[in-house]
């Protein structure tokens, strides 16, 4: 036996190499599986929804329950209004929360605020829905505003947390440069910090919009019994794409099921596009901040 016996691929070393290979293969399979799940979901939505997707489907309001000759124009308009109002509420507040924690608050205050936002992010949306139901719908009526408030609550922690992460990426040397020029704190924030972080802040806002555009549970509770045709008054209940999908899939008619798939296709396309755009902004922003 030579002194180089330890270098030979046998015994203990052989066993370790085998374990290494097994772990590598299993983790690769897991990664492929994740990609496969996305492809299968998107693929099945496309294959089942494509048939019902048409200009007519996109531009006609839904018919009465059971009537599948209509489309989802009222649901598209309703989702745009509900999500738009939610964004108007959640994005400014979320940005201000992030500005507070990263620019003004001490770490002793900022840490619990971040923790609370993480908790809020983890609240099941059905709970948010029932909360808004009790707050705005019970004893009153369903409305687009109630849906917007529920979605805004879901959006708020997403906007605030991503904005915090992005603001933390702005190099401290830039703020230092501004302070050393005698530029006041709030002005440094407006002229240096926020413009530098703008792309990333936009990313957070878009991701939050993409996330709530498909949010269904709260809308079923607070904004799901609506009239016919394209409605635009948010003090009344409005249709929305997720609720349309839910209600169509509950219907016994196969045509309604196909319509549900087509609406799902519209929703998933919107969310995917928004995600890709958001990531592009984020990449640009990171480059600007030298990260």
């Amino acid at each position: 036996m030579s002194d180089h016996a330890l270098l030979l691929d046998r015994g203990n070393l052989k066993r370790r190499n085998r374990v290494n290979r097994v772990v590598e293969v299993v983790s690769t399979i897991a990664a492929l599986l994740a990609v496969a799940v996305l492809l299968i979901v998107v693929g099945s939505v496309v294959s089942k929804g494509m048939g019902a997707l048409s200009i007519h489907f996109l531009t006609t309001p839904a018919g009465l329950f059971g009537d599948t000759s209509g489309g989802i124009s009222n649901a598209i308009v309703g989702t745009a209004i509900i999500v738009g109002i939610a964004a108007l509420m959640a994005i400014p507040v979320g940005l201000l929360v992030a500005i507070f924690t990263s620019e003004f608050a001490s770490e002793r205050v900022a840490h619990p605020v971040r923790f609370v936002l993480d908790l809020l992010n983890g609240v099941p949306t059905i709970v948010t829905g029932i909360f808004v139901f009790g707050l705005m719908v019970e004893g009153n009526k369903q409305s687009g505003y109630a849906g917007s408030v529920a979605l805004a609550i879901v959006m708020l922690p997403i906007v605030a947390r991503t904005a915090q992460e992005v603001l933390a990426l702005v190099p401290g040397t830039l703020k230092e440069a501004a302070y050393a020029l005698g530029i006041a704190r709030w002005r440094t924030l407006l002229r240096v910090t926020l413009p530098t972080a703008a792309g990333g802040l936009l990313t957070g806002a878009l991701l939050a919009v993409a996330r709530v555009a498909g949010e269904t549970a709260p809308l079923i509770l607070v904004c799901s019994i609506f009239g016919q045709g394209v409605l635009t008054e948010p003090s009344e209940a409005l249709s929305s794409i997720p609720v349309f999908i839910f209600q169509s899939s509950e219907s016994p008619s196969p045509e309604a099921h196909t319509q549900a798939w087509a609406a799902a296709l519209v929703l998933i396309a919107f969310v995917l596009v928004l995600n890709v755009v958001a990531r592009a902004f984020y990449a640009r922003s990171r480059k600007r901040m030298g990260a």
């Binding site: 230092e176 440069a177 501004a178 302070y179 050393a180 005698g182 530029i183 530098t196 901040m289």
Partner: protein, 296 residues
Amino acid sequence: MDSRHPTQSPAMTEPNPEPQASAPQRGPAISIAGSSAPRPIKKSRDVGNVALKGLNAYYGANHAVRGVSLDFDADRVTAIIGPSGCGKSTMVRCINRMHEEISGARASGQVLLDGLDLYDKAIDVVAVRRAVGMVFQKPNPFPTMSVIDNVTAGLRLTGASRGELEDRGREALVGAGLWDEVKDRLKAPGAGLSGGQQQRLCIARALAVEPEVLLMDEPCSALDPVATLKIEELIGELKQRVTVVIVTHNMQQAARVADTTVFMLSGELVEVGPTDKIFTNPDDDRTEQYVTGKFG
């Protein structure tokens, strides 16, 4: 000097410029808040004398600068040398009160600018930083701003008109020896310049607000030798308009640019004197050991 500054104003080349009638008057950079009586306007270079009196600076419990008393005279370049961690940067950051931006940091003692204590309760910290400019170790132009917007960034909040901004921005770029290199791309992003140009852009940005004192915290440590040389040449010109205080870990640089050199060790002032004396015949043994490379 070479042909790099054909557009340079005469005020930059003559050793003792008279204040020009057309140039913006160097008014009092700081006045006590609440009192409208301005400090008497002195002749151009009588302003900008800095005196430290018993200055102490701390990071939490760490006593970084220990009872330093020191004068920085106008019209001179003062270099601060000493080994890493000796408190030289901290001391300089006390002069424009940037030290207190770090959480847990505080300072005591006096920093007098032409007799006015910058740590007085009535003094506005923003005004201090307009009177005492600073250039940092790494060039830090604002990435979202063009060359010219970077230079005028500190001016824009004074409500200067657009024309005035352009004039003073140009003046500052000339003063920083950068005008010829950037005059055709004033609207290009400031971050697109080379490292040395970016640092001179930062110097121009600091000069544009017309400070009386310019602090430079190892301004060449991130630059190549050619860019370093340009900055050193520039420092020689700058001392005619601002008091220059430069922190450097490079002793040759101190010897090249400074009239006065200060040696610090463990937060304490060891020796201050004319640069050639510090490097050839210092009084203190520790200074001699440091400048001859025995430690540090």
